[in-house]
Symmetry: C3
Subunit: 461 residues, 3 copies
């Protein structure tokens, strides 16, 4: 059986031996030059810290490193193991799922340090960007947007295309983030708007432009295997467990980080129960579907990205998680097939149901909770801290803040859709080495595979 | 070959399409209502923290979040990845092992926040429970008891039954914890007594009531595969690595957390060597058994759950680990088969050898170490801090404390056995959708499985 | 098919039923005795901390535990899951890779607490060694040297031999570390010299002495499978993600830890891009090789082990990572085959390319960066802190410091090569139960394997 159905080998258009190294080298060298020109240590990571510390009357433990490093490492795990392994659920695209995540996040975080630095922490007198642990967290966040987009494209694009997706994804991210957080003065610590909503619609728009009418030719590989689903559970669980750190990583010291972690923890627990419930109800024998368990269980945290730092109350968090688990499973059951059939939109991982929709809803939830904030609940100082009511924003009332939060959500959707459509057009050029329709979802195209395994691959029918 | 031995499909009694969603929805809605009535942020996670901080003359870094959050995240990983993946060792019950852990721990932690809140932190003037990061750790701990019980039942019960096990498990846990920690004023930071001893005997009692005389009909699935054992090693290692955080997560700030982590780290290292040694000695060709490597290596930490925060000394920790590795492997070799043959007690994961017995011994070790504590070793203030000798307990001498510790261990056993027997009886009603004897240890019953894998399942003989 | 090619069973010389338990028991008992004589809690982990704290005018959060415990846990994960799973890439030696790592690191860390204690923290008045969280980190580091050596020997030695490798590896490590850090007063927080360079050459020298001319008889098992490569990616990613913690775990409080983490994070990102690039260029169809992705991506962090705490600048870190990714992949492509063919040196995991060479280069990079340090960049106090210019070293100029750093690198190479050769000779005695040439890379030799899998093992040809 092994001999009569020999693998056809990669299509000739998946040849990336020139383009992939070229992109990696040129962009990495550009990074080195730009880092050399722009990037420096900030006062807390420079050897001059002892002087700064004494001048500010701080102690070593008050270095921002100790406030944020544990959260940073959790976020880092979410990006590389969480996203990476979540994308190993396909039976024959595990290397691509984990490996390309590794590649594009490693590029993306460098580019993010620059882009976010230019927009947020460029010292105009020296022309330098100062980085510290919070910059690293933000860089990881910024990559998340592009990794979400990767979820819609999984198995259908080349690594060179993914590098392009990341280059533009990070660039667009930095701009929309600047508009939303700085110009509109929204709060969005866990990124419902700037990360999930943007990343989701960005990926969906790209995937829509790159529609493949004959993708069914790869149908034999468009599913999971028993063990690939278990590898994906590693990704799911690390995302699920560390999401409280994600939503609290860059919130205010003290109560801000504390409350965001609690709210996210609670919302996630609630999502799990409703995801399991709807998944079981949807199958005629009541059996659970791994796709729902792997994805919908996380939707509560996505929708808490904006509101987690607010006084949404523990039961408020439970309600958000409750609804999101339901909505997300419904998305997998009805919206994704609808998109594929009627909108010509192929969304491999169902990012619409895990990121785009819950992110958008999270933005609006944040708007409502912000609008409802009162001095009675937050205390005077608390309200100032949580909504950063300083400078010109000191007198903005909460209703207005809510309106701006809602506007921010719309900005992120617009950036995602328009940016994604444009990037999709760029990716249509026939120079990127993407696989043919009958060669999608197959690591064979870009990876040297162990020989002996070949006999266990289902033959091309 | 694939066609002649078609899977028989799930037995009709494993139909949970009504009961599982019903339980999830009703209980989750109950959680929302109860959270709404009772649960609020504590002073360190509320937006009013700046006022509280200034009043108490603290700085942001002294928010309890920074003392405990890294440990919390480690504990969280132990619960979901540690316990979850440890239970994937069966060749065909990996989804159930990881997935049901995910479900019941997500429910359990919500119920635990309420139950523990009512018993430990209900403010009688306001009628509210205040939660912070320590509450989250305790909630995770509380789930651990039910997850241990799951270990004895793995593969033989339905997810609905597991939800019932968790509901009662968390309830009983909160009561016995209140008796042991508050009424008897025992110290048990890592939960040898309240978590492992209770959880172990709880699960064993349930399993004893649910004895299946014809379980051998599922024998073909009652074993591991090469890769399922490797997935289980992920669980083992994350439990092993993070156990120092487990035992130190809620100990005193400063030396308490520091010492508990060191003691547990040392005890675990010692357990590994003796587990490997006995495992090799027990096989006639000296080969190692993965079951021992996955489980007995952890026994040292279970037995240090009470004593880890005491001045047990580093070599004392080594001795505890040394003995527990031996005892635990002997348990797998002799006690588990004995239980199955003579006590009609089927213990899938051997929780007796990893949790019940080491937990009980850990309780008594803690009693001895507490009784032997002297002011010379601990210093006056140290003794007060470690044993919380305040209020009416200020004059309790160490011998008495040791006696109470031993009594606490007995309380946890009693709660486990009696509570487990009662819950077992409830689970015998024929309404819970549990699998038939020839359908145990099979994900087919409750999960939609990837199609192509079916041919690799060993046929029913 | 399953019946005609029955496994031959383990060779008779892999019988370790006496030797493995004997070594484990005797050495573990020795540890208990030596811990009893020597090891005590330090002032920060003893119950007397409240007195010490008040005397020094500290607060609980300034206990070293809170500065270092999160990093410690990350390092702990790197040792047990990182190294352990990185070594599961062979299709049929996954148990050995993860399991023996577990065993030898658990022994090594105990022995390291003693050896490092005698050399670094023995109180000569009391004759005791005081341990705290920093000791645990150093003990884990010390194990890393022996685990690196294991990488060269993977699949070719018995667990008893690995215990011997660890016993001598830890001993040699403590001595060379004492010479390099104390006598030469080098700085090497992340261990480019003392860990990677030493460990790499130690393993290579052992492997060279143990050369097996007929190793090709195990060729059928000397490769990966699709899933074993994915398990190895778990190891890779946890090493990659947590390496910033590794390099910053024992650096100075405040800026030292902060800067080391940032530099390592940046260098690693850069290594990933060049590793992917060269890997793709090297294959005639441009396909990526998992071996390179699993290993070379980490080389940047190895080479930053010394310089990470210095003011190497962010772009300097990028350049180091850039070069190391290239060098490491070239190593896998050309140097490892060259070693095997011409030097009779079999290096299973290619530790030369990941540890020995990048470690050596990291030592020299550290020397150059140290020599180039100026008060202008570091500030006066900064220079004193970073290079510990106190006591007799207060006046050592930076050029001299650079020279000593380079000398330290040479010391580590010499210790590795000479020590490894001697240990190799010890391991040649025919008493250790190592496998025959046609039985290498096979878990069958030392592990009880699940039965049903046997039919999927490729037959002996």
């Amino acid at each position: 059986m092994g001999s009569c159905c020999e693998r056809m080998g990669p299509q000739k258009n998946t040849y990336v031996r020139v383009s992939l190294p070229a992109v990696c080298f040129v962009w990495q060298i550009a990074m080195i030059i730009l880092f050399g020109v722009f990037i420096r240590y900030d006062e807390e990571s420079s050897a001059t810290w002892p002087e700064y510390r004494d001048k500010k009357n701080l102690t070593d433990i008050e270095n921002d490193f100790y406030f944020r490093y544990p959260s940073f490492q959790d976020v880092h795990v979410m990006i590389f193991v969480g996203f990476g392994f979540l994308m190993t659920f396909l039976k024959r695209y595990c290397y691509g799922g984990a490996g390309f995540t590794f590649l594009i996040a490693s590029f993306g975080l460098q580019w993010a340090l620059l882009m976010q630095g230019w927009f947020h922490s460029l010292d105009l007198t020296t022309g330098k960007i100062s980085i510290g642990v919070e910059s690293l967290i933000n860089a990881d966040f910024c990559c998340a947007g592009s990794l979400i987009a990767f979820g819609a494209l999984l198995g259908k694009v080349s690594p060179v295309q993914l590098m392009v997706v990341t280059l533009f994804g990070v660039t667009l991210f930095a701009v929309e983030e600047y508009i939303i957080l700085d110009l509109l003065h929204c709060r969005d610590a866990g990124g419902s708007m700037v990360i999930h909503c943007f990343g989701g619609y960005y990926g969906l728009a790209i995937s829509w432009v790159l529609y493949r009418p004959n993708l069914h030719q790869s149908k034999r590989l468009h599913g999971s295997s028993y063990h690939s689903d278990l590898f994906a559970m590693i990704g799911t669980l690390f995302l699920w467990m560390f999401w409280p750190s994600f939503n609290s990583a860059i919130t205010d010291h003290g109560d801000g980080q504390h409350r965001a972690a609690i709210n996210t923890y609670i919302a996630l627990a609630s999502s799990v129960l409703t995801s399991f419930a709807i998944s079981s109800m949807a199958q005629k024998k009541g059996k659970l579907d791994m796709v729902h368990v792997q994805n919908a269980t996380l939707a509560g945290a996505v929708a808490m990205g904006t509101a987690a730092e607010f006084m949404i109350t523990p039961y408020g968090s439970l309600i958000v998680g409750f609804c999101m688990g339901i909505i997300s499973v419904f998305g997998y059951l009805f919206i994704t097939p609808f998109f594929e059939k009627y909108l010509k939109l192929q969304d491999t991982c169902g990012i619409h149901n895990l990121h785009a929709l819950p992110g958008m809803l999270g933005g609006f939830i944040g708007a409502v909770v912000a609008a409802a904030a009162t001095e009675e609940v937050y205390s005077e100082q608390g309200l100032i801290n949580v909504f950063d009511k300083t400078g010109v924003y000191a007198d903005r009332d909460q209703g207005t803040q809510g309106g701006f939060q809602a506007a921010g959500t719309c900005v992120s959707i617009a950036f995602g859709l328009v940016g994604g459509a444009l990037v999709g057009l760029i990716l249509k050029f026939p120079i990127w080495g993407d696989p043919a329709d009958d060669n999608c979802f197959d690591d064979e195209a870009y990876w040297e595979l162990p020989e002996e395994d070949e006999e266990t691959i289902p033959p091309v029918l």
